[in-house]
Structure formats: C-alpha cells, structure tokens
C-alpha cells in the first residue's frame, strides 16, 4: 500500500471495482478539472487515460470509497433512463443536463458493473452480504459522482446501456421507487443504425447462434429488450417512443423526474439543434428516420418482423392501455 497522492479524493472518481481477491478494490482516476458533461462517460475516461501525461490512477480498498462517500450528503437518483439504443436517450440526457444541479451519469461503467447480475459470484464475499454490498457500493458511487460537478443537492439521472433493460430486476431492487423512463424506437430504424455503426456497448448476454446473420441476432436481442421492458412496467415507468421525443416530451420527462427545464434557454436550444453523440456539439441534428427505413434490406425487414416487431407493438399497446 502506498500513500494517497496529494489532493486525493478531491476531483478523483472511482472507475472500476473488483472483488477478485478477498478484499474488494477500487480503481480511481484523477479527473481534475474534467466534468461529466460529455455525452458518454467512457469517452471521458478514454480521453483522460490517453492524454499526455495520462490521468493519475490509484487503487484503494473498497472501504475507502465507502468511508469517503459516507461524508457526503445522501443522493437518491432523480430518475433512471433505460433504452434500446439509437432511440434518443443521449439527446434526452444532454437536454436534462441543461437544468441546474442535474448530473447525468451516462453509461458509467462502474455503475453498470456493480449492478450486473453475477458481479459478486466467485468472490470471497459471503453470499448473504451481496445485496447489501451492492446497495452500499451503488449508493457510494452515486454520492461521489453526484458531487463531482455539483457541490450541493445534485439531481442525478442514471442512463444505462441497453443491457440495463435485462438487469432491471437488480436495478429496481436497489431503487424501487425512483421514476424510470424507457426509450424505445421502431426496430427497423434501430437495427439499421446499429448495422451501419456497430455499437461499443450493445452487448447481448448470449452470443449469436452458429451461422446466424447479424440482422437476425440484433432483431432477437432487440425483441428481448422490448419484452423485458413490457414485463416490468409499473406506476414508476414512462415509456417514450423516439417519434414522440419532441421538446414538449422532453419537458414532460424532466417533470416526471422532478426536474425543471427552462424552455427556450440557449443551452436547451443548442442541444435540440445538434447531433447528440457529438461531444463538440457542432454537428447539426437531422431526422434520419426516412434514411433508416430506405436502407433496411430484406433480411433486416424479415428479421425485425419476426423477432422484434411483435414485442415492440405489444409494448406500445400496453402503454396505450395504461
């Protein structure tokens, strides 16, 4: 064990937690003046670790994280965003960030890791402590991240990777009453987008079948996400289709999370006019639905019709009845 660097833990964030050995360890990264404003957290981490010199790293026992977090005020997430990918969730996150006090934790790997079923499996931690340790770790991580950019009363929104829809039982065990939005989109458009630009984190829990075309593999996975969402809706859920994602709907989702957006603010207008995944916020947004539909080949259409459309329609019908 070495001494912590001067200044720790100010402007440091936990980016990895492992229980490989008997005692859990946390990897910290020095964020310095870097905020969490980029559309994707992993991009921020990549910039920091590839910078010259790279950001400093530090390993500590898990207890250090728990102790440091306990000194910060408690933070309950204001809302959770689940999504099926390429459906406006990044745009929504960017829009919510324009409100005061809001911290959007967009696909933060350490949060996803701790929430993952099986995270403690094979570790020395006794099984009867797993649920409690998961809650403590997530609570600690949210406190530390929440206060990174906002000193007082941060309003934290957690945006999951698409796989989060299959982890909902675990996530909602931790935060059963936190409102959550499920963003969906027509399967054909999602599939074309993913095929054109293969994703970094669009990972299905099971691999493709032998010889299975990518189109079918995506359609099956997408169908599973819609089905998982439909089977876990309750009074805390708001389901929004990409085609409904107007500025008014963004306001409604913000209100659902207890957040007030300022209509017509320069920041919000800028978000709505630019491509959400562009960290420089320069590229103009354009509605690409027609493009996506035109570029869907027969296999995409057949796969979507067989695997993804029925659960998508069932989800939309379920929402319409609520």
């Amino acid at each position: 064990m070495t001494d912590a660097p001067a200044g720790f833990p100010h402007r440091w964030l936990p980016v990895d937690i492992r229980f490989d050995s008997g005692e859990g360890t946390v990897k910290w990264l020095h964020f310095g003046s870097t905020s969490l404003a980029a559309p994707f957290f992993n991009h921020t981490v990549r910039w920091l670790t590839m910078d010259s010199p790279p950001a400093a790293e530090l390993m500590t026992p898990v207890e250090v994280l728990l102790d440091l977090a306990a000194r910060l005020p408690a933070v309950t997430p204001a809302g959770i965003i689940f999504h099926v990918s390429r459906c406006g969730s990044t745009y929504l996150g960017n829009a919510l960030r324009t409100a005061g006090q809001v911290v959007v934790l967009s696909e933060v790997c350490v949060i996803g890791m701790v929430s993952r079923p099986g995270f403690f499996h094979g570790t020395a931690l006794p099984r009867d402590q797993w649920n409690n340790m998961r809650r403590r770790l997530l609570d600690a991580v949210i406190r530390v991240y929440g206060h990174h950019d906002v000193a007082s009363d941060p309003r934290v929104i957690i945006k999951w990777i698409p796989f989060g829809l299959l982890q909902m039982d675990v996530i909602r065990d931790v935060w059963p009453t936190v409102p959550f939005a499920v963003l969906i989109r027509d399967p054909l458009e999602v599939m074309v987008s993913n095929l054109e630009r293969p994703p970094e984190t669009f990972v299905w829990p099971s691999p493709a079948r032998e010889g299975e075309p990518l189109e079918e593999y995506y359609a099956r996975g997408l169908g599973l996400l819609y089905a998982a969402a439909r089977q876990r809706l309750d009074g805390h859920a708001l389901v929004v289709d990409y085609e409904q994602l107007s500025p008014e709907m963004v306001q409604r989702i913000a209100s659902f999370f207890g957040i007030t957006l300022t209509p017509g603010s320069d920041a919000l207008r800028a978000v709505m006019a630019t491509y959400s995944k562009d960290p420089s916020r320069v590229r103009q947004f354009s509605d690409d639905r027609e493009h996506k539909r035109r570029h869907a080949n027969d296999l995409v259409k057949q796969s979507a019709a067989r695997w993804a459309d029925p659960p998508y329609i069932a989800l939309k019908n379920e929402v319409a009845l609520r």
């Binding site: 079923p117 499996h121 099984r127 797993w130 039982d169 829990p205 099971s206």
Partner: protein, 84 residues
Amino acid sequence: MTLRPDISLTETAEGAFLLDRITGDCFALNRLGLYVWHHLAEGRSSVEILDRVASEFDDVPRDTLSRDIDTFIAALEQRSLLTP
C-alpha cells in the same frame, strides 16, 4: 423441488430468457420449457406436470413427453436453477 427466486424471467415469442441474478448466467427456454417452468413455479411435481402437458400435447407420445420433461428438469438442476 422449487425454482430459485433470484432468477429473472422474460417471456419471448420463442419461450423465455432466464437471467441468473447470482451468477449472471443466461439461459433460453423453448415454449415447452416455459410451460414446465410455470408449473414448477406453481409448485407442481413432475408427475403432475406430465399429466398437464400430456393433456395439452395429445399428439405426442406420453413417453416422449416424460423423457423431455425429465431431461429439462435435470438440466435445471444441473445449472442450479432449482432448490431441493
């Protein structure tokens, strides 16, 4: 013989997707598997399940159904998805 409570199940057109929340392992069930799963969840024995399946799938020999159900339950046991 009961199903473990910490298994997340999502029904699909093919059957179901199971996620073991302890190990993180994933499994797929076909429709017969899902049918049996639901009856196991209701606490029925393998004999009771066979009777019900046989009445629904009357074009399949009872021996075949019995073998399929036994194989399925053995697979669940092997993957520790059942508690004794």
